[in-house]
Amino acid sequence: MFVYLPVAEMSVNALEIIFLGGVVGFFSGLFGVGGGFLSLPFLVFAGIPPTIAVTTQSCQIIASSGAATLSQFRRKRVDVPLALHMMAGGFAGVILGLGIFGLLEMLGQIDFAISATYALLLACIGLSMLGELVRSFLARRRGTTAPPNRIAAWLKTLPYQRDYVTSGIRVSVFGPVGIGFIGGLMISILGSGGSFMLVPAMIYLLGMPALFVTGTSLFQLLVLATASCLLHAATTQSIDLVLAALLVGGSVVGAILGLRAAKHIKGAWAHLLLATLILAVAARMGYDLLVTPDEAFSMVMGH
């Protein structure tokens, strides 16, 4: 079943995109990650122009984070002031990211920048997940302690120390603002919420209790993805709503299946599965960058 994407000016197999949305939704339901980092590479493999894939992604992030944020609020697991500070940094990141995106597009480097950053990020994430699995496996055998973090110690020395009552931590305002800034950059350039980086950063650098991390990061992600979606719609005009509808529709079904599967799959096995998938995608993207291409030229529409 073919569907024409009006903004991308191409037609795609709708079932393929729905299936892709479903797979991404499945993993986001299974692990509580946004899944943007997985769907973007696949959209690019499917021939969707990277610029359109990145911006349209923000709709999927809104859908997946929106539902979860609601239930986190109901359970009072959102540290609102901390989320607001992250958003402040995040907005700056989104706007700077929009500028960088435009500049890269003008230079004709946007597709290279996206695949290179993704290959690198995914390889890091995949390897660190594997490392984490091995470490937790070893730790269960002899019991170790986490090494002290240098950045966390440095954050304690910065000015504007503030008590975040909900999470019960005392940290410089620059901590959340800085983390939010990186998240904002990632949304507007890479079309990924960056939860896989923000969540560990909030736990290890800010020392937040894990109980509040998910809700707080989801809430700021929801607001930033909305901002990115609206800004891209108004400026780059590269959001394709037909593509967005297919992706979001698929991911709703996938998320439900993923949450159901989460009850049956053992955590370690699920993580191993995700790590393998991530590394495979990273290898595929890295391969294209490292191996001498068959075609020595690439084409960009416009200047």
């Binding site: 859908a63 979860a68 529709g249």
Partner: protein, 243 residues
């Protein structure tokens, strides 16, 4: 009265038409790009009154393209120096009754944009043209790989010695706008007659409305996206709670 006037009009026009040795028409004046669009086909047909080699070129609205040569930077393949091309047809297909090398001399074909190596306009100065040529060649190759330019000239079939017909395919990746079908009749290596027809590729229905909305009311379009996503997320939440 009206009929009478029409007949008189026809009589006046008739001598002029009799002179034209080439008449051309196409199967569609407009191709609608609906949400379910997956390419389309178009037939060009007509009458060729005299002997000669016939060539039909279909070209889409002009667009600008940048071709980058991939270069290695710190071991990674990046987009290197780029070359801009302006006014390159976004679609190109070709049909001919005889092999192109028998139609006319290469420079004649180039002047009429006949042949895949003649799609992209090159600078007049030979030195500059030589520098640009690899990029132009890559543009054609890449568009052929995407299925947008044809790979070879299609054949023109003749029902009678005078009645010709050629079929063209428009790919699913199609640029909306005005397309031109041009038929050219060559004899002794010279262009003798030509005729052309236009057709429009128009987004219709939902895709047209979305495209218009995206360009004219970007912010509202973004809001629709946000609400759609929120509604889907909420729906998932409700469905999950029911389990």
């Amino acid at each position: 009265m009206v009929l009478c006037a029409a007949l008189m009009g026809a009589a006046l026009v008739a001598p002029v038409q009799a002179k034209a040795a080439l008449t051309l028409d196409i199967s569609n004046d407009a191709i609608a790009v609906t949400t379910g669009f997956n390419g389309a086909s178009l037939t060009a047909f007509g009458i060729q009154e005299t002997q000669g080699a016939l060539v039909i070129v279909v070209s889409g609205p002009n667009r600008d393209f940048t071709i980058h040569e991939k270069t290695r930077l710190f071991g990674l393949w990046t987009n290197g120096a780029g070359h801009n091309f302006t006014g390159v047809p976004s679609y190109y297909a070709l049909a001919s009754s005889t092999p192109l090398e028998d139609v006319a001399a290469p420079e004649k074909l180039r002047a009429e944009h006949i042949g895949f190596e003649n799609i992209v306009p090159l600078p007049a100065e030979p030195a500059e043209a030589a520098l640009t040529a690899p990029y132009a060649g890559a543009l054609v190759r890449l568009q052929q790989a995407r299925g947008i330019f044809g790979r070879e000239a299609k054949t023109i079939t003749y029902q009678t010695p005078a009645l010709f017909k050629a079929r063209f395919d428009l790919p699913p990746v199609v640029v909306p706008g005005s397309y031109t079908v041009r038929a050219m009749l060559f004899r002794d290596g010279q262009l003798r007659e030509s005729a052309s027809k236009n057709f429009d590729v128009v987004p219709t229905g939902l895709s047209a409305r979305l495209l218009y909305f995206a360009h004219e009311h970007g912010f509202a379009y973004g809001l629709i996206g946000v609400f759609m996503a929120l509604a889907a997320g909420w729906l998932a939440n409700v469905l999950l709670k029911r389990e």
